[in-house]
């Protein structure tokens, strides 16, 4: 790995897909999520009012079926800020309702059993 890649965890640290690990990377709190075998890294900072976004519950998404029945899609992967419940897509960092609110996300990859994050684009 190159010098920009920070070793933040090991694959063996994730027991299942709903787990997340929050680590310090050069002074930034970054959350590593594993979803369906893929890793995603978001800044642990809610762009609403600065809450610890990534420590909130992981949820699916509410919606409405064609016949008007309200449904819950647990295939969606959102994280809900513990302060005001603003919800963000873990895979994109975008607020589920308004993409003008987007949490910084970082490149993350798993190599040789290690998980690495790059803070630069």
């Amino acid at each position: 790995m190159d010098d920009d890649a920070h070793h933040v965890a090991d694959v063996s640290d994730f027991a299942d897909d709903t787990q997340r690990i929050i680590v310090d990377v050069d002074g930034r709190e970054v959350a590593i999520f594993r979803i369906d075998g893929e890793y995603h890294a978001l800044l642990n900072y809610c762009v609403h009012q600065g809450g610890p976004l990534c420590q909130g519950p992981m949820t699916g998404q509410s919606g409405v079926a064609d016949d008007g029945t309200w449904i819950y899609d647990d295939e969606s992967h959102l994280v809900s800020c513990p302060w005001h419940a603003w919800k963000f897509d873990i895979e994109t960092g975008e607020n589920v309702h308004d993409s003008r609110y987007t949490v910084p996300k970082y490149q993350v990859e798993a190599t040789d059993g290690g998980i690495y994050v790059r803070l630069s684009e």
């Binding site: 609403h48 949820t59 509410s62 005001h84 603003w86």
Partner: protein, 378 residues
């Protein structure tokens, strides 16, 4: 931005068009009766025995003290004729006094149609009102009208929209806004919204203090004075109605439908825009019918008439700031003639001329109404 450049208009005389977007008629049972279709023969037989606004036998409106009572003893209208009538010729005299060029006519007593519990009366009054109002507007008169819909009778209201919605003088569908049970976001009302959208007619929501207790029982049980009931009645209804409309997805289901809020003034709107957006963002799990920020629906599909502005005289900038927060394109001047809390055009103009652009001022005072309702000059 509306406030980016100062207005160059210094006088109302410089305006080409001033529209009262909430101008009430005085619709008595005697007026409507001859216009009720004979197919409502049972209702006609019963209604032949009532007169005036029938505030207890047909309509069930209540206020804690007489509605306009001591303030306007015998003079609810500026130019009430000696015989107490208030027809459009009397209204034209009032408008001429104030320099108002055009009026959007709204029901008076009809705004309490949702307090009428006899369904046959509801259908008959709605039918009679809509035929009567069309007959009141002469060929050269500077008026258009909203037609009356009855929230408790969605299917029958849709049939009325089909019957008169294509008339040139009908420019919107008026839905009584106070005391609607369930609130207007409920799917029960979809036939009305669907019919209005199909005809290209906005829906207007206009409350009534007398019907407020149907949805806000504490106002009916505990208000000690008319002032108490009137102060909170219109805003309570407007805030609740707006909230249910947006959160239950009515503007989402009817994207070509436009909504007009009347009789509530302006200052509550920025507060509600912030509050609705905030709750939308914080309650994702409940927002299944909402696809964008509530304030975006409001900007794109909602309009607000200005009266009653409230006591705005203490500061010359605040009303312009409120307009800027809402968006000048969404606002239409209203006078509310002939009611005693009406706002003459000068009341609004003086507060906005110094802080809004000329285009914004012209829009608010008349052009926005002309564009929304699609009428020409007379």
């Amino acid at each position: 931005m509306a406030s980016a450049e100062p207005a160059t208009i210094r006088s109302l005389d410089e305006l080409d068009l001033i529209v009262d977007a909430d101008s009430h008629v005085w619709d008595t049972m005697e007026d409507l009766y001859p216009y009720i279709d004979d197919k409502y023969s049972w209702a006609k037989r019963m209604l032949d025995t009532v007169s005036g606004h029938a505030p207890s036998t047909v309509f069930k409106r209540t206020t804690p003290t007489p509605e306009y009572g001591i303030r306007h003893r015998g003079r609810i209208h500026l130019y009430r004729d000696e015989d107490e009538s208030y027809d459009l010729d009397v209204k034209l005299r009032e408008m001429d006094d104030y320099g108002i060029d055009f009026g959007i006519l709204d029901p008076g007593a009809g705004l309490d149609i949702n307090t009428v519990t006899n369904t046959q009366f509801v259908d008959a009054i709605m039918n009679g009102y809509n035929s009567w109002i069309l007959d009141q507007i002469g060929d050269d008169m500077p008026f258009k009208a909203t037609m009356l819909a009855a929230p408790d009778r969605p299917r029958q209201s849709a049939a009325e929209i089909e019957r008169v919605g294509d008339e040139d003088d009908i420019v919107a569908v008026s839905i009584p806004a106070s005391g609607i049970e369930p609130p207007p976001g409920d799917r029960k009302y979809d036939p009305i919204y669907e019919a209005a959208e199909a005809k290209g007619l906005p829906v207007t929501f206009h409350g009534s203090v007398g019907s407020t207790p149907q949805a806000w029982p504490t106002v009916g049980r505990n208000a000690e004075t008319m002032a108490e009931a009137h102060t909170v009645g219109h805003p309570l209804s407007a805030m609740w109605n707006l909230t249910t409309l947006i959160f239950r997805g009515v503007p989402e289901r009817f994207p070509d439908l436009e909504f007009v809020y009347q009789e509530c003034g302006l200052a509550w709107i920025p507060y509600m825009m912030w509050r609705l957006d905030d709750h939308y963002l914080e309650n994702e799990e409940e927002m299944v019918m909402v696809e964008k920020l509530p304030s975006e629906y409001i900007s794109e599909q909602f309009y607000f008439t200005t009266q009653p502005l409230g006591h705005t005289a203490a500061n010359q900038k605040h009303l312009g700031q409120i307009v800027d927060m809402i968006g000048a394109d969404s606002i239409m001047y209203s006078c509310d003639l002939p009611h005693p809390d009406h706002d003459p055009p000068q009341e609004l103009f003086d507060r906005i001329k110094g802080s809004l652009s000329e285009e914004a001022v012209r829009g608010i005072m008349g052009e926005n109404a002309r564009e929304l309702y699609g009428f020409g000059t007379v």
